[in-house]
């Protein structure tokens, strides 16, 4: 053995170029296996944290009759999955809590509503309404001036539209309304009956405004207190939690920043983020350039929001900032927003210091009310008004779009909005109709009946001033909706009703949250996460308990409940890694095979001589195997060492997430790969197998060299 090793080492040294090439491949391959596995493990832990501690819990329970699969993070799908319903959450909860492994049980329902973005006229009218309600009259003249300025520009827009519209009858009526709203007479009357005037403006004029697009609001209807307490990455960012027993809505900070924020501000944020996160520059990055151009092209989004007084203030400030004498605000804004890498930070700060406070930075702010439109299972449209109480974030996942998919709403509003408390099947509906002696409700009337929280038919009241709107007591409806929105409920109401799905946290799994330390992302020990086997054992106990209690339910582990998107992502990363590792080792395999076959031919006489001297075939095979093993040990060892150092280093410093999706995959701002002896063992086994297999073929070829080969004179 000693001599073989000596021969092997000498051969490696003699053919040092070959040795270095093979050695490089083997070292890199081993390094990659160690680092890759450390990273993949950390990614699995990170994804578990991103899924479990934001939305799913360890287990997700849905009705056994659910038609669709629960896919928590299947945000790309347009339709909310049909998960049926769990009729009585309280009963299921008590069954679940009888399982010793169960730690917390959280009611849920996932939904999505379209919300039409408020046009500038709507926003201003809402402010006007607020000032009337508050009785704060000092702001009113500025607001009215602003409203009238908007009305003027709307008339211009409508003129343009009329030129291309086919149905001029409709636009004629609209023009008449606008003319009326624009008339001095209208505003002279305004103070006499401001609320009636507002109703006219809101109902006839607002719909003509250019809406700032629409939003898809995804939300999870839940018990906000239990949600905040158990989803360990949950933190309040601004505003306050929805108080217990009250209805309301909380924005997810990621959603809020990305979709609700003023577009110009959002783009500035994105440019800042890209510059800081990835080191991109406006000069070189096409995407950033495009954002700058968009901002320049859309200065009206700022000017529209400024009343004449504020517009003037901003103009003066910008003139000073830019050293310009330009008198037109929009031109000043265009040159201000034409940021480059040199002035970006200064202008960004200026924007937030001077412009942002004068505009509406978010389409919906804490304290606002949102009208969410939904549809019951049986197809009736519903609407619910919810108050925005606050904005929450997920620690470390603020920049993850996936983690930002769901906003939070109270369960009661959710039930109203989705008609969850009502019968869903045709038979149930028919029986109810029969009981109520309702034969048929035309769709349009159904809307009236089911609109908002009101199931009573709103009685018509006289409204002489705005006769077009007669037939509806608009103020009355508004009051009803407000009453519903402010209605309190007890914890018992919340628990006794139906839910769509239930999140379950198990005991024995320590917090996988990085904690509330200032550092935020303390390295996460693998042991703090629940492992798959333990989870499965507990899951089966839960299944059992539910079955015994007579419930037919699906109990999914978090990994399935998250939906194929996230699981696929994890699988994709693993596959990508294995393909790369496979490729490297395949190349190593080919290079070793090839070079050893060449070496075999070169060493034909030497091998023949050894055979002639009495070495058996096996000895020759061993000679090659030892050469392979020597390479495996030397370069594998080097790769293991470097890999371990890299993992330890990265584990300590963390790999920063540089793209939106990485935050979710990393489960935070940084990935901390973990060194595991198992990884080293796997890496070493892989390299040994690869070298031995690639050595085997040349070794067999060498062993076939006959001893007579020694006799062929060479010199």
């Amino acid at each position: 053995m000693g001599i073989l090793l000596r021969i092997a080492l000498r051969n490696l040294r003699l053919h040092w170029v070959r040795t270095l090439i093979v050695g490089f491949l083997l070292t890199v391959g081993t390094w990659l296996v160690v680092v890759g596995q450390g990273a993949i493990d950390a990614i699995h832990a990170g994804m578990q944290r991103s899924v479990v501690d934001t939305l799913s819990g360890h287990l997700q329970i849905t009705s056994g009759a659910a038609k669709d699969d629960l896919e928590l993070y299947q945000s790309a799908a347009i339709a909310v999955p049909d998960l049926g319903k769990i009729a009585d959450f309280g009963k299921v909860k008590s069954v679940l809590q009888s399982v010793p492994e169960v730690d917390a049980v959280i009611p849920m329902g996932l939904g999505r509503s379209i919300v039409w973005g408020a046009s500038s006229i709507e926003t201003k009218l809402a402010e006007l309404r607020r000032s009337i309600n508050d009785g704060t009259s000092d702001k009113r003249p500025a607001l009215i001036a602003h409203v009238r300025a908007i009305l003027k520009s709307m008339t211009g827009d409508l003129d343009k539209l009329q030129k291309v519209a086919s149905d001029t009858k409709e636009t004629d009526a609209q023009k008449a309304d606008l003319a009326r709203a624009n008339s001095d007479a209208f505003w002279q009357e305004f103070d006499k009956a401001p609320l009636d005037a507002l109703e006219f403006l809101e109902n006839r004029i607002s719909p003509l405004g250019v809406q700032s697009g629409f939003y898809f609001f995804n939300y999870v209807g839940t018990d906000p207190g239990a949600f905040a307490k158990n989803f360990k990455l949950f933190r309040m960012q601004s505003g306050e939690m929805i108080p217990e027993g009250q209805r309301g809505f909380m924005f997810n900070s990621n959603y809020y920043e990305r979709f609700v924020k003023h577009r110009t501000a959002r783009r500035l944020d994105e440019i800042k983020e890209a510059r800081e996160l990835t080191g991109a520059t406006i000069a070189l990055d096409e995407n950033l350039k495009r954002m700058v151009e968009h901002n320049k092209a859309q200065v009206s989004q700022i000017t529209e929001q400024l009343d004449p007084v504020k517009a003037d203030e901003v103009k003066v400030l910008l003139q000073k900032e830019l050293g310009s004498t330009e008198g037109e605000l929009s031109k000043l804004l265009v040159s201000f927003l034409a940021v480059d890498d040199d002035n970006f930070q200064r202008r960004y700060d200026f924007f937030y210091k001077e412009i942002a406070p004068r505009i509406r930075l978010y389409a919906y702010m804490v304290g606002d009310t949102i009208s969410l439109y939904g549809q019951t299972k049986s197809g009736y449209p519903r609407a619910v008004n919810v108050k925005v109480w606050g904005v929450f974030r997920y620690e470390g996942l603020e920049k993850s779009g996936l983690a930002g998919v769901y906003n939070v709403m109270d369960l009661m509003s959710f039930r109203d909005l989705t008609g969850l408390s009502e019968p869903v099947s045709a038979e149930e509906l028919a029986s109810i109709k029969a009981q109520a002696k309702i034969t048929d409700i035309p769709r349009e009337k159904a809307e009236d009946e089911l609109f908002g929280a009101g199931t009573e038919v709103v009685t018509a009241a006289d409204n002489k001033t705005f006769d077009d709107l007669a037939g509806r007591d608009l103020a009355g409806m508004r009051k009803l909706a407000e009453a519903a929105q402010n209605a309190k409920f007890s914890q018992a109401d919340l628990e006794a009703g139906p839910v769509v799905n239930i999140a379950v946290f198990l005991k024995g799994a320590q917090a996988s949250a990085p904690g509330t330390s200032a550092a935020g992302d303390a390295p996460l020990a693998k042991a703090t996460l629940i492992d798959a086997e333990q989870l499965e054992v507990s899951r089966l106990k839960v299944v059992d308990a539910l079955k015994k209690a007579g419930f037919d339910m699906k109990v999914l582990p978090w990994s399935s409940a998250q939906g194929p998107l996230v699981g696929g992502l994890a699988a994709g990363i693993s596959i990508f890694f294995y393909v790369i590792v496979g490729l490297i080792f395949f190349v190593a395999f080919i290079v070793i095979l090839n070079s050893l076959l060449m070496a075999t031919m070169e060493r034909t006489q030497e091998i023949g001589t050894i055979r002639a001297m009495g070495a058996q075939r096996g000895y020759v095979i061993r000679m090659f195997a030892i050469e392979g093993a020597a390479m495996a040990v030397i370069f594998g060892g080097l790769g293991l060492g470097l890999g371990a150092l890299t993992v330890i280093g990265l584990g300590a410093s963390g790999v920063p997430a540089t793209s939106e999706i990485l935050f979710f995959i990393f489960g935070g701002r940084e990935l901390h790969p973990l060194l595991d002896v198992g990884h080293l063992a796997v890496a070493f086994s892989v390299i040994v197998v690869v070298t031995l297999v690639s050595t085997l073929i040349p070794a067999i070829a060498a062993a076939r060299i006959p001893p007579i080969a020694a006799m062929n004179a060479k010199e």
Partner: protein, 246 residues
């Protein structure tokens, strides 16, 4: 043929060797009988292509006869498996090659030691003793740590002789051991082999060099794959062959 089979280390009886060569067959050896007694120092002489190397390969168990019997140290090589022939080589035979065939990555000492490492019955101390003794006998004690590439041709062949003898083989075979050496060096190598022969090791080597033939005690002549002369005693044809070779 020989008298008394007891001491014969090599017995070839009616040995033929055919090589297929394309569609034809080369009859390299056509019925050869050779018998070598223990301690002989014999030369196999003949013109190029006469079959010297073929005969040596058959005796060296690195090739098998087409027909006839090849008996080495009492064992019929035809009846042996490949692994057994290898073992026979290890235990009974020593080889000296025309191009020395040292292992380039090993130094002088290691090259000589190598065959002993293939044997399990010789311990480390014994190995060292034998290697040092032989290295001394071939006069290379001072070059112990040198690699083959750092040695002259003559020195290399001395190393090869030491290596062939280190296992104390019954027979040492050498195919034209001096062909790659100048005549003076060849002479000294020949002299060395003769010394080794005094210990009782049987030597058989091939040559077509008359000077080498003159050094041998027995010159077996081969021509066209047949033995022309077994070379016993003061055979008058020895001189004729030598003259012929010139």
């Amino acid at each position: 043929m020989g008298n008394g089979a007891g001491d014969a280390v090599v017995v070839l009886e009616a040995v033929t060797k055919d090589y297929p060569l394309g569609k034809t067959t080369v009859h390299a050896v056509r019925g050869v009988d050779i018998r070598l007694e223990r301690g002989e120092f014999a030369v196999l002489a003949g013109p190029s292509g006469s079959g010297k190397t073929t005969v040596l390969n058959l005796i060296g168990c690195v090739d098998v006869a087409t027909s006839g019997k090849v008996i080495i140290a009492g064992r019929d090589t035809k009846l042996l498996k490949e692994s057994e022939r290898t073992r026979l080589r290890l235990e009974t035979l020593g080889f000296i090659f025309q191009s020395f065939n040292l292992i380039p990555v090993l130094d002088l000492y290691q090259n000589v030691e190598f065959p002993l490492l293939l044997r399990k019955d010789i311990d480390k101390a014994e190995r060292k003793r034998r290697v040092l003794e032989l290295v001394e006998r071939v006069g290379l004690t001072g070059q112990m740590k040198q690699r083959p590439g750092e040695l002259s041709g003559g020195q290399r062949q001395r190393v090869a002789i030491a290596r062939a003898l280190v296992t104390r083989p019954a027979i040492v075979l050498a195919d034209e051991p001096t062909a790659n050496l100048d005549s003076a060096t060849g002479q000294s190598i020949l002299e060395l082999m003769r010394q080794m022969n005094r210990d009782g090791t049987t030597f058989l080597f091939s040559t077509h060099d008359p000077v080498v033939m003159a050094a041998a005690r027995r010159v077996i002549r081969i021509a066209d794959g047949k033995i022309a002369d077994q070379g016993f005693g003061a055979n008058p044809s020895a001189g004729a062959a030598a003259a012929h070779a010139h």
